[in-house]
Amino acid sequence: MPTPDSDPAILAQNLSRIYTMGETRVVGIAGIELEVTAGELVVLKGNSGSGKSTLLSLIAGLDRATAGTLYVAGYDMGSADGAELTRFRREVVGMVFQAFNLLPTLSVEENVCLPALLAGGNGRDIRKRALELLDWLDLEHRRQHVPAQLSGGEMQRTAIARALINDPAVILADEPTGNLDSRNGQIVMELLAELNRRWACTVIIATHSILADPFATRTICLKDGSIKS
């Protein structure tokens, strides 16, 4: 449930996620303290297993913390129930994945429209908005194609359009250039930066790549589940 005062876009206090596998405990993140102001472009850096994706999953409402508190756009992620988390994902965040995760049976346009349709929006309005996004992302000519017919860059741009269809306040990108060549990687990073600049979206990018560095308002380094700098 969102709190009335939602000044910081993201507020994490002593946030931990510990995975338990039998008797083994694996630390995803531990004791994270983080405050992100709306309109920031934050780059999360760190090696594999440092906790970047775990932190993104918690911010996206796909996973729950085992300790600490997390507020995203005023939503208390610790106490939100399933329905509230679904509404949160529809209204607050848009996600971009390394593996694109487009639905292979749907066309580009249908993939883009999907989150809004799932949220119960008006079909005609949604299609109009999708075409605007596709036009902006130079994908209008590909709208009837299925993902298998697209290049990696086109797939990731489609994923970005899908993330934007519900006008989210926060964009979360998990290694968005991991599967792209440097030219397409550069294009994707510029798009994310433009989102941040043009629509004042809060953008959190988890990446190994240096491509995001020039656009970052803040860079956070994670190591073994904790913020190092």
């Binding site: 399933g82 679904t86 639905l103 799932l118 998990d174």
Partner: protein
């Protein structure tokens, strides 16, 4: 899953064991009765003079001759189960059949001497004696249509030779006693012969030429073969039906292996990348299939041991009612049957595992690196398979029209196989079409989940198509059998009311089981004629004859009187045009069964011999009749009586006058009068009771079929559940992506339910369509080729409709475990997997 396979294997094996037990029991009894007989003399439609024995013994080609009489009689009351009483000459028969007294009985010579010396003595089989608690020296009352008489038991037969005929439910007596008891003085049913050593091939022709007119020389195995022939079609049909459960079980193995392959796709890619050969991966899944088969088969042993107990009773009762009398006293578990059951289960499991194993073999090691596994491209394959399916379906009717050997519906079964193959091949294309065409309309009904389900269906590939194919098979069988059984029952009901018309049926005691060999005793016939009752009497004769290999009933009827109260259900011919020639005795009406089994058509000449009289008669019409034993030939009563000078009645139907004010009361009074005069020598059945009994037998006959059908449906529902699980596993990443972009868990559940619904609708819809075609094949091809009869086509929409909620309910229920699979792993973990 293993239970499903076990169920299929258990049903298959139980049905085979039950049928074989009945066949063995029948065959064993026939062999024991035949003993060392080389040839038998019989007189179709009559009995042989006993004096012929002496003439035969003088013939150098004959080493021995033994006259035999047989009849079913009852002991200890009217309602007791009848048993077979054999009468022969103990001396002449000594070299023909094995027999000896059981330990505790008087010694061999004394017992047989006593049978010959003392009238009305008998020896009983051990089972029968034990059942009635009879010991040597006891007196029992035996009943026959001629009389009831006391017999003294002089011994118990040991459990070998004749003592084991009909599982020991048998009695033997001296021929003179038998003749006196049944009133057949100087006559015998047959004379068994042992041919002399050195009697050449031509001895049969020589002997036949010397025999009196109407006496036929037959081989003892002919009767057994005739009986076996009758059961064979039933055996084949039931075996194939039982195989369906196993066949549907094959889809379960397929689904489970496919599920494993889908679940372990990345593991397989890793194995492949680390040096496992494609062949090794193939063998891995093939072995998994084999293990499922072996596990299922092992579990089928206890499951089957329970099923077989019920099955053996149902099957043997059906065979006894419809074909030949059998007493199953033991169940033989042959090594061959065990090996066959194991081999078929294993082969089916391996065949089912082959396709997913082949698919696993094709998984590229590159998938270790790949982010998105390739989507199965089925579009062109579906079109190609669909075209092949259409060709297969188009060939069904031309193939079904090919005439097959009698009793072996090969063209019918091949057409059925082609039908199932055709529909299964059409299923990928149908699914694709449904998915494409229905996705958008579905969105309006069920929102995004329904739309997405439609889309998934269109691209879900061959695995879904195969599971839908299994459902098509099961629901088509369900629909077809429902239509067939309903049509059959409807026609039999109509036949029973029209052709088996009559208010009271009077026959000699145990007439049917004794093949109407003894007519109604003359004194009783006169008493019935003198009854002061407001009823028409329709007497008839019924004679069991053989036309080539077909055993049939020759029945006389007064057509004009019969038509006043009922009538035939005509398949070919017209009652008005056939009646004049029929009444003049110039032609016959034949039942559809007889016509189909013998190939006789309207206008053909029917030839037979009754006693000394040869008959050549035109076929004037073909009518429906659902008695077995090769069908019926109807001939006019008056010309028959004139020809044979035979005023005796095989039986008589009584029709109450329509003018009777209180028919129920008049009927009760009529039955009471008949019972009073019958002296326990007649079977008196009210028409209502007889018709109810016919329908009860019908329902009991199809009870086994219905159970097999339900098992096949249950196995098919399990198949849908496992297919859904495979689909969910395959789409798990996509479902979690949907959750990440805003889908609720409820929407994902609805998506899976819609997917299940569409699969089931496709399977059920195509299944019902296929079922209607199959029902036509069953009624007009397979039944005609198996048993010679067809029925009026009637659809029981209620029962067909019942399968829809039944199957849809089962499918939706089966979707529940599939939805749980989606949420087992948190979306974050799944989406992080590269």
């Amino acid at each position: 899953m293993v239970l499903g396979i076990a169920l299929g294997a258990a049903v298959f094996t139980s049905v085979r064991l039950s049928i074989h037990a009945s066949l063995d029991a029948f065959s064993r009894s026939m062999d024991l009765i035949a003993g060392h007989t080389d040839r038998s003399l019989i007189k179709p439609g009559g009995r042989l003079p006993e004096t012929l024995v002496a003439e035969l013994l003088r013939n150098p080609a004959v080493a021995g001759a033994s006259p035999v009489l047989m009849a079913y009689v009852h002991m200890g009351g009217q309602r007791a189960n009848p048993f077979l009483l054999i009468g022969f000459d103990p001396l002449l028969d000594r070299s023909f059949r094995n027999w000896r007294p059981a330990p505790g009985s008087p010694n061999d010579n004394k017992m047989w001497a006593e049978l010959m010396r003392e009238p009305f003595t008998l020896a009983l089989g051990a089972q029968l004696a034990a059942k009635h608690r009879v010991t040597p020296g006891d007196t029992v009352i035996l009943g026959h249509s001629r009389q009831q008489a006391p017999f003294r038991c002089v011994g118990i037969l040991d459990a070998e030779g004749i003592g084991m005929v009909e599982g020991g439910r048998i009695g033997v007596t001296d021929i003179a006693t038998f003749q006196e008891f049944t009133g057949n003085f100087g006559q015998v049913d047959r004379i068994d012969l042992r041919m002399a050593v050195g009697a050449g091939d031509g001895s049969d022709e020589t002997l036949q030429a010397e025999l009196p007119e109407g006496v036929v020389l037959a081989r003892p195995e002919e009767e057994r073969e005739s009986g076996m022939q009758m059961i064979r079609a039933y055996q084949l049909n039931l075996s194939i039906l039982s195989f369906v459960s196993l066949f549907v079980g094959m889809f379960l193995v397929y689904s489970l292996i496919a599920l494993n392959a889908a679940n372990r796709r990345s593991e397989l890619a890793i194995l492949h990348a680390n040096g496992a050969s494609a062949r090794q991966l193939f063998l891995l899944f093939l072995l998994e299939g084999a293990m499922l088969g072996v596990g299922g088969w092992l579990l089928s042993v206890p499951v089957g041991s329970v099923i077989v107990r019920y099955m053996i009773q149902g099957v043997s009762e059906t065979i006894s009612t419809l074909f030949v009398r059998v007493h199953v006293d033991r169940l033989t578990l042959s090594g061959w049957e065990i090996a066959l059951s194991f081999a078929v289960t294993l082969a089916i499991s391996l065949a089912a595992a082959a396709q997913p194993a082949h698919a696993a073999m094709k998984i590229s090691p590159k998938e270790v690196m790949a982010e998105n596994p390739e989507i199965e491209r089925t579009q062109s394959a579906a079109g190609r398979l669909g075209a092949m399916g259409l060709v297969a379906v188009a060939l069904v009717f031309p193939l079904a029209a090919i005439p097959g050997p009698p009793g072996l519906p090969l063209p019918g079964y091949l057409a059925t196989f082609l039908l199932f193959t055709g529909f299964s091949l059409l299923s990928p294309w149908c699914l694709q079409l449904m998915g494409r065409r229905l996705a958008n309309p579905l969105r309006r009904i069920g929102g995004e989940p329904a739309f997405l389900a439609g889309r998934y269906l269109s691209t879900s590939g061959m695995r879904t198509a195969i599971s839908v194919g299994a459902l098509i098979t099961a629901s088509a069988l369900f629909c077809a059998l429902v239509v067939m059984i309903h049509s059959f029952r409807n026609t039999v009901e109509l036949w029973a009311h029209q052709t088996v018309s009559g208010d009271v049926f009077v026959t000699p005691k145990m007439a049917a089981i004794n093949q109407y060999r003894d007519p109604i005793p003359f004194d009783l016939m006169q008493a019935i004629q003198q009854l002061d009752a407001p009823a028409d009497l329709l007497p008839y004769h019924r004679i069991y004859l053989r036309h080539r290999d077909v055993m049939f009933q020759f029945e006389t009827v007064d057509l004009e009187s019969f038509r006043k109260h009922g009538g035939f259900l005509w398949v070919k011919g017209e009652p008005e045009s056939a009646a004049p020639a029929f009444n003049r005795g110039e032609g016959v009406l034949v039942s559809e069964v007889f016509a189909n089994l013998t190939g006789l058509e309207m206008g053909n000449t029917f030839r037979t011999r009754i006693g000394e009289q040869a008959l050549n008669l035109t076929v004037l019409g073909i009518v429906r009749d659902y008695r077995t034993r090769g069908g019926v030939v109807f001939y006019a009563l008056a010309p028959f009586n004139a020809m044979f000078g035979n005023p005796e009645w095989g039986g008589v139907r009584l029709h109450l006058d329509r003018s009777v004010r209180d028919p129920d009361r008049a009927l009760t009074a009529l039955v009471s009068d008949l019972v009073a005069l019958s002296d326990g020598r007649l079977d008196i059945t009210s028409g209502r009771h007889l018709r109810r009994a016919i329908l009860r037998i019908f329902d009991e006959t199809f009870a086994v079929t219905s159970i097999l059908l339900l098992i096949a449906l249950a196995v098919a529902a399990l198949g849908i559940a496992s297919t859904l699980s495979v689909l969910v596993l395959e789409h798990r990443r996509q479902f979690n992506t949907m959750i990440a972009v805003g889908a609720s868990r409820g929407q994902i559940r609805r998506l899976v339910f819609w997917e299940a619904m569409l699969m089931v609708t496709a399977g059920e819809g195509a299944g019902v369509l296929c079922g209607f075609v199959l029902s036509y094949l069953l009624i007009f091809v397979i039944n005609a080729q198996s048993f010679g009869w067809t029925f009026q086509y009637r659809v029981d929409w209620g029962a067909v409709g019942l399968s829809v909620p039944l199957i849809i309910g089962a499918a939706l229920f089966s979707a529940l475990p599939a939805t749980r699979l989606i949420f087992r792993i948190p979306p974050a973990v799944l989406l992080r997997e590269r």
